[in-house]
Symmetry: C2
Subunit: 629 residues, 2 copies
Amino acid sequence: MPNKIRICLAQLNVIPANPQANLQKVLSFIEKAKTNNAEIIVFSELVLSGYMLGDIWERESFLNECMDCLDEVRRASDGITVVIGSIDVIKDKKNEDGRVRKQNTCFVFKNQVLVTKAVKTLQPNYREFDDNRHFYDNRKLTLDKMLSKAATSYNNFDIYDIMAENSHFNLNEKEIGIAICEDLWEKDYTISPMFNILYTTNNLASCIINISCSPYTQGKNNKRNRTFGGLAKKFRKPIVYINNVGVQNNGKTIYAFDGNSCIYDKSGNQINPFKPFQEGCETLELDLDTDFGNKGYDDEEDIKMVYDATLYATKEFMNQMGIKKVVIGASGGIDSSVVSAIMSKILTPENILLVNMPSSFNSMLTKDAAAKLAENIGCPYKVIPIQESVDLTKKQLKKVGLDLTQFAIENVQARDRSSRILAACAASFGGVFTCNANKSELTVGYSTLYGDLSGFLAPIADLWKGQVYELAKYINKGAGYALIPKASIEVKPSAELSANQDVTKGLGDPIIYPYHDKLFASWVERWNRFTPEDILKLYSDGLLEQEIEYDGNIRDLFKTNKDFIDDLERWWGNYAGLSVAKRIQAPPVIGTSRRCFGWDHRETQVPAYFTYTKKYLELKKELLEKDNG
Amino acid sequence: MPNKIRICLAQLNVIPANPQANLQKVLSFIEKAKTNNAEIIVFSELVLSGYMLGDIWERESFLNECMDCLDEVRRASDGITVVIGSIDVIKDKKNEDGRVRKQNTCFVFKNQVLVTKAVKTLQPNYREFDDNRHFYDNRKLTLDKMLSKAATSYNNFDIYDIMAENSHFNLNEKEIGIAICEDLWEKDYTISPMFNILYTTNNLASCIINISCSPYTQGKNNKRNRTFGGLAKKFRKPIVYINNVGVQNNGKTIYAFDGNSCIYDKSGNQINPFKPFQEGCETLELDLDTDFGNKGYDDEEDIKMVYDATLYATKEFMNQMGIKKVVIGASGGIDSSVVSAIMSKILTPENILLVNMPSSFNSMLTKDAAAKLAENIGCPYKVIPIQESVDLTKKQLKKVGLDLTQFAIENVQARDRSSRILAACAASFGGVFTCNANKSELTVGYSTLYGDLSGFLAPIADLWKGQVYELAKYINKGAGYALIPKASIEVKPSAELSANQDVTKGLGDPIIYPYHDKLFASWVERWNRFTPEDILKLYSDGLLEQEIEYDGNIRDLFKTNKDFIDDLERWWGNYAGLSVAKRIQAPPVIGTSRRCFGWDHRETQVPAYFTYTKKYLELKKELLEKDNG
């Protein structure tokens, strides 16, 4: 007998918090699978409800609706096995918050009957994930079973069998194992759900299905290919991986789901029937003994995927929220130009409004670049100067005895642009306005609250300044001409808020690219987050460039140790201090990195104390003494 | 032998993320306890580091500093037993995010030696708590031990013994059990750590020490008295409860820790040596057999504790952040008046600046009230009108072909006040400005982003409008005169942004107090969060008033079912829709309720779909038919 299954992989664009809409698509995919004579159709994790729902999980009427929709899926399973991720509501048991118990579950239905249901064993609680807040997991269930056995008779029992007892089912005389997302990302856990399944089935499981709800992150596909491919090869069992597409958010951070559903053969090779971000279902004859051949994995072209994910997330989010018109403050600089270019791929030109808001400090260079950008896009372009209003503010405050410093006036300008003009333009235009901040600025709060740090969405705020430049070049290459004007790419980055930031004199922002990109990334994105103590130690040992992957010599940037330390303390003080307050009130960010601001980077507002650990102060003293010695 | 211990309870004002500062206080309290001949001193949970640190927990240099400080505590334990909560870093083990393992631990030191260390068993992951994100708990440790035993020989073993093996120690021939915070809030868990301790010690433990880091919430003290008192009585064992004071935040939500450290005798009666929010340490001779006498618990006077907590949190937060001057937009309405009154208890008058910013729609009534308030406080008061700037904005937009609707102009006014004037005033004054929003407004987004929804802190945004009035009266009662002018309390709440909101004609905001307070609370604060489906069902059954505790007849407010439904859908649409976007960018809130916006109320930005569950639509149809029938 050939060792084959006819399987349909369903990669849905899941609409979060809309079970009825998702159900309709699930039912239509099941019909399609039946038409194609599939034995089995597999949907992703929490496909009816969506995953990132915040505390919508606490509404019982919503949970009931999910259960009702799930029952319609069961009723549609005549003549086919349906594997589907959905919430299981256990009415007579409690979650640990006292609410009704909810389990993140993989259901298997056939001929309108429940075949088995497996509860997620490993629940992620890092980065943007909060599974334990909402879901009771299979580890707790296992411990509960053991506690009840312990309480009765201390019989011998097998913990592995208990853990995996519901995680496999029979499909036409083949045993199939099931795992939910993190269950196969087992590296950092003391438990291996895949091992447990093979153990309890006496290694008879012929393949493992993994249903996931896994957002796109730079480099994650490569990592999953290594991890899942490695498990398939290690256990000599194929793995079927199903992930959804679409966009979901946790308030502060918006994620694109890239799908990339695929099959790993028992040697760990991969076939991938879908394009990233593509909705659809594909039926195929899967030979469980076959070897797809070692084609390796397509190494992702990073900037292409970042662009695709950013564009997709922005577009889908706007689509979900019903946003059809956008106003962009166009300064002529690189950030607003890239955001404008992205919007031009989503909306037709008449639905984009570019507004340039010069003060006396803005150069012809950048003003011309902004106008040129609008011309390239073919969208309306308005110039609304802010000088008169800024002067009025100064005058009104002076009249009541309040003076403004130079620095304060810089912020007055930034707020005048966003809160006074752009917000009003958006209301008039019938849309919203964007926040064009990048990650380097957001890290150190180099932006004005209620000024350039406002807007409905910050599409590029998870990209370092260097990546924004890369994106600009990639976009222009794709366009076949300088859609983003050359001047915007070549001008020195500058807020143009004072004479000290005059780009025509080569002046501009105090952030040194790419050094600061790399330094800041070591504070934000490293798994062990660096602090000034780590930085100073590495600097002192001559290892800093290497550790933060800076392609240059840091000692060329700073004349003395003191200069280096002053710079470090300035930016760290901002990052760990005032910029936290700014980020608390910042717009939602499209997350693409391995660590995004917002939900993925939990912050507390405290003074930047931990600059001054004992060890830091000792290192600093030593280095300053070397300056003098 | 008398069954007594001489115990020192240490109730610290913990400075979050500042182990060195906390260590100094811990050491000085240990000295004090020694002077007072205490056998044992007990500190609260995570007393060296603080608890709400966001992802600062991911910085290894910070963890090292915590361990170094802990070691200094160990060295100070000559001649005394020190019980202290701190982070334990297990260098050779991993957390499930792949980082170094961290355990929320209660350490017991005596004579510079570690006596035992107990790891938290029950970790809360609801409301503002996220323990599993950072800490490996005793349940996982237990499961790991069992897995390793299962893997070897399936010997009989006792899961209760494994769980509690480190959770007790000997103090001068008495056995003492230890539990960490949630460990004794066992109601919704399948595990009872207190039972486990008594089981493993053959019921010989003479008392249980609970170290906590437990923020103030309305009604929580009463609930803890019932819970902890109940456990003490049930097991006939005294419980010593230690909690810290101070303020900690999770970015979006700021919590006051009220301390309220106390002792429950074996009958569940309580003695409480500290005032709420009071730092200090108290040594006392505790007779473990005694009965304090059934004095009952002081029923908290809710509004007093809410006031105390709000004032304390605001003051301590400003103190932590080094904020010494505050600007308040004083409209003459109730919200800004209450915020001003609170600030007047924190800062001297010269450090408070009240700014009234009239447009053509502001009445003399409210303007006079604002001036009177400033006079009462004795602080500077400025009037800065916004009409000229609003007209300029209209003119500038019109010039480029952009028209503003009446509604858009209301928002222009609100943003002009906050982002243009108040932000500039704060910069000039050398301080920050407040957000005066209340919870009713925040729930339905009845406020303007970058307008009245901006500021460094929203001190009363966790209080329903009705509570704000209560607070105003309480403050005036305390002051002995109308510190908050009578007009501010009596005037109809109004944004005064258009002729339709003319208070002199009795016009104002569309929110109906107190009905909407109660309705909104059922969406936000109920443990099972109500949705329109629940509301409609209760309304239809005539049970809504009772369920939401509204003291009136809802049918008096609405002429028809349709009117009721229109109102419900309007506000729910705002709550579940656009107001989420506003809250994402709202200022930090002082949390005092059982559910606060921000960290405690996780939200996702989705269209307000779930209004339209199948059941809701059916109920709605029925009710509308009754209107017509």
